[in-house]
């Protein structure tokens, strides 16, 4: 008499599980498989080879690009954290009225087109852009600065702008889940406000920081539009741009697949590390964990990048 509901639930599970298998699992596996295929005279042959990986690790371009991208992503992550943490702290502990409204205001830009946000910096930093205009009219410079746009710093600024709200979300969620009584208890036990922050708040907020930073890092490293728009010659060469051109102009899909697989592995290792840190340092209980996953849902914005 219990087989019947079991059968029904099996059937109801079939559609989503099948969907994920056919449209996500198979494509990712095929990508992996393709990275072992051979490209001969511009056609892909289903012949297993390690050539792609040999070329990937044997040519300076690829490892260098990965390191360069990681360097950019690291700086973006650092600046995003630097901007997001104080604001998250302010929202979580200092803002009493209209807190939700202010929080909404922070994450509104996540809903605004990625392209618009990246493009805005082109107006600001361009040769005839606002920054140059302001600097010239104030008499600080006489010729427009050309280094502003098309440099890796333009890229870093724009990416920081894009990923700061991402970083903020999980940090805010974890900070908000810290009971005020902990702050009070710390004060009661003779801790100064700095000590309370250093010994109580900061350690408890680590899971949020880790979640936020992981996403900022992974997504900014995988970004390939902002580099083309703002990055200039050298920084148009983020690792995703390589993948993009290997799949596009160069038509070397197997090598592109190999680069993608390396990116994928790096990402998964990083996420796994972050996850174990989050798990180990999560003292605020289910709340913090759920908050981080909630943030992840909203982080969705990054899926478009």
């Amino acid at each position: 008499m219990r087989a019947h509901p079991r059968l029904r639930s099996f059937l109801s599970g079939l559609v989503p599980v099948g969907w994920v298998t056919v449209l996500l699992l198979f494509p990712y596996i095929l990508l992996l498989v393709q990275s072992f295929w051979k490209l001969e005279n511009g056609t892909i042959t289903h012949q297993v080879t390690l050539d792609n990986y040999r070329r990937l690790f044997g040519t300076a371009l690829y490892p260098d690009t990965i390191l360069f991208s990681a360097g950019i992503a690291l700086r973006v992550t650092f600046f995003s954290l630097l901007l997001a943490y104080p604001l998250a702290y302010l929202l979580a502990f200092k803002v009493k009225r209209h807190r939700n409204l202010m929080y909404m205001a922070v994450i509104i830009p996540l809903w605004v087109s990625y392209l618009v946000r990246a493009y805005a910096w082109k107006i600001i930093l361009g040769q005839e852009g606002i920054l140059n205009g302001l600097l010239m009219s104030s008499g600080l410079i006489h010729e427009p600065l050309t280094v502003l746009l098309y440099s890796k710093w333009a890229l870093i600024i724009a990416l920081t702008h894009i990923y700061t709200p991402f970083t903020l979300m999980p940090i805010f969620a974890v900070l908000e889940s810290i009971p005020v009584s902990l702050k009070e208890a710390s004060g009661d036990l003779y801790a100064s406000r700095w000590q309370t922050f250093r010994r109580v708040i900061l350690p408890l907020s680590i899971p949020g920081v880790v979640a936020g930073c992981t996403f900022a890092f992974v997504l900014s490293m995988g970004d390939f539009l902002a580099p083309q728009l703002l990055g200039g010659n050298d920084s148009a060469l983020m690792v995703s741009n390589l993948v993009w051109s290997l799949f596009g102009v160069a038509y070397n899909w197997p090598l592109g697949a190999a680069v993608s697989v390396v990116m994928l592995c790096l990402t998964l290792v990083l996420l796994w590390l972050a996850n174990s840190v989050e798990k180990r340092m999560n003292y605020t209980g289910a709340d913090g964990k759920k908050a981080a996953t909630d943030g992840r849902g909203m982080m969705a914005r990054g899926a478009g990048v």
Partner: protein, 275 residues
Amino acid sequence: MRSPPGRPRDMITPSLWAVGSAVFLFIYLPLLVVVLYAFHDSNIIAWPLKLGTFHWFADLFHDRGMMDAAVASLKLALLTVIISVGIGVPGAFVLDRLDFPGKEAFRRLVLLPLILPGIITGVALLTYFSFLHVSLSSGYPAIPGWPVVLGHSAALTSIVVTQVFARLQRLERSQEEASQDLYANEWKTFWYVILPNIRTAVLGAALLVFTLSLDEIAVTFFLIGRQNTLPLQIWGLLRRGITPEVNAISTIIFALSVVVIVMWARLMREEVATR
């Protein structure tokens, strides 16, 4: 017995406010710039700003390519919402209710497109469809193409799954038991008790999927057939150099985003009220 000799002078709070406001400015100024330059009365986007024209908006509506792209994007987004809700809601139930070998793998796999850089999902799907010999423009012109529709849906189903799953986790099982206790069978229980409870989560997720699909580039880029979507059309304009037309369309997108956000915020308020 520590009684402070009066309120200590608080230097931290004001500086926090200062930093916080600066971050707010950093987040919003660029968006403001885009909007302002949509009304800029010159071909060249340069300082100083000359406000006072709507002709970039008018141009937009005469731009055939842009209009077609907008229609294509809307179709794509609507189809994506329908499919990802259709798959994502049962998917959330699977995660919440069923136990089967490989469930953990399923959970991680669903989340993968959310976590990975979009380009990886894009090239994986491109490889896949090309391996299966599915033409990227199959289904055109009725829809922008099945591969891109399926690609968006595959990538964004995760949003519906996570949002609805989070809601289901909060839904007390005793609600359903109470309903069945009160003579409602499984279907009626779903219709009268579960659905009203997950409604806001489903609608919220649908809105999110809709905007994300409208804005998606990474997956779209590799899967699009003959018809450009709006972001790709804008991207094309941007590659040719910046034109105020882009500001105009960006401003419209921005305004629409705000409308969607307000709707979403209202939904979330209801959602919070159920906690």
